[in-house]
């Protein structure tokens, strides 16, 4: 991936929050299609944020459903449409954190956990250069420890997440989130370079 492509991904993300705000406003004015579109735009983001807490796909879907039900019931408590994206991700993240802290005692092995240990030869058959590029990106992300993976996944998919709220959900002191984020990004940059992506 080139710098330009990565840059366009983040630009698309900004567009996404604006789209969510516009659709929320349309819904609040009485048009249910606004809600339909809001669900279409934000559900993929909620999936990524919730799954960062290593809950099963079933629990992730339950958490996302609860989040949407809460929005339908508490719509009028959100004054500024621009805040709807943050409200949704924060609500989902809280619920995911509660679900994960309750189920951690009987955690099962998520196939994703094993990916970093599967020999690279498994994907060597990939004939398509683009596919190989993507798997190299993934291998770089997969070299990060779990704490870095979770923090970066949450930060990457949320819009300017509130560090105070993150600190309780990630079990990290609020003052260490910024520095940890920096260290995790440095590790990722190194892993990408080692993997020949840069």
């Amino acid at each position: 991936m080139t710098d330009t492509q990565a840059g366009s991904a983040s630009a698309a993300s900004d567009d996404l929050w604006d789209a969510a705000a516009a659709q929320f406003a349309i819904w609040r004015e009485g048009d249910p299609r606004g809600l339909d579109d809001l669900v279409a735009v934000m559900t993929p983001v909620l999936w990524q944020v919730v799954r960062a807490y290593r809950v099963s796909p079933e629990v992730a879907e339950d958490v996302i459903q609860s989040t949407w039900l809460a929005l339908v019931r508490r719509r009028d408590s959100i004054d500024d449409p621009q805040a709807v994206g943050g409200w949704l991700t924060t609500t989902a993240r809280r619920a995911a954190w509660r679900a994960s802290s309750r189920t951690q005692r009987d955690v099962s092995i998520d196939p994703l956990d094993l990916e970093p240990y599967i020999p690279a030869a498994c994907s060597a058959e990939s004939q398509v250069v683009e596919g190989d590029e993507r798997s190299r990106l993934w291998r770089a992300v997969a070299t990060l420890d779990q704490r870095c993976q979770r923090l970066l996944r949450v930060v990457a998919f949320e819009q300017r997440p509130d560090y105070a709220a993150l600190s309780s959900d990630l079990r990290m002191p609020v003052g260490s989130i910024g520095p940890t984020r920096g260290r995790c990004l440095t590790k990722l940059r190194t892993a990408l370079a080692d993997g020949g992506v840069l």
Binding site: S8, S10, W47, V59, Q65, A99, W138, R189
Partner: protein
């Protein structure tokens, strides 16, 4: 090539996870259905408080294999509801436990809030059984006899 900026790196993280752990197919359509039904319900005089799912656990199948039982725990204010759901060979049942054990009835609903089965009384120790709850997407309503306490309803879950 210049060094990747933090924003570029977060773009890599997004791309990697979207590729590796994509949202399941049909999730958006299911969530659109959920919000449509809930909006329609709220537009009527359906006066219920929503229970929040606190916990979900699958029971290990064990030696018998495929017991198909799971437990859901819901909460709202001071009320907690535990459901053990068993679906085995076409038959299903729900065992429920409410804390605190208030005099109330329990009833299985369709996702759109219509009745799907008889009301059963919750016992003085907070337990109830629903022996033929059916299958597919399901909700459950708890209606206290004390009219001052609000009726509570679960989100949709699948049997």
């Amino acid at each position: 090539m210049s060094e990747m900026s933090p924003e570029d790196l977060l773009g890599v993280v997004r791309a990697a996870w979207e590729e590796r752990d994509p949202m399941p197919e049909g999730l958006v359509a299911r969530m659109q259905e959920v919000v449509r039904i809930e909006s329609d319900l709220l537009a009527t005089d359906w006066d219920c408080e929503l229970l929040e799912l606190l916990d979900r656990s699958e029971e290990l199948a064990g030696a018998r294999g495929g017991s198909g039982a799971f437990t859901l725990r819901f909460g709202h204010d001071d009320v907690e509801l535990l459901l053990r759901i068993v679906a085995e060979g076409g038959a299903s049942r729900i065992d429920g436990w409410v804390v605190p054990p208030l005099p109330m009835t329990a009833q299985v609903l369709e996702p759109d809030g219509t009745d799907r089965g008889p009301t059963v009384e919750v016992t003085p120790d907070g337990r109830f059984e629903l022996t033929h709850p059916g299958s597919g997407l399901t909700r459950l309503r708890l209606e206290p006899h004390d009219g001052d306490r609000t009726t509570i309803v679960t989100p949709t879950f699948e049997i």
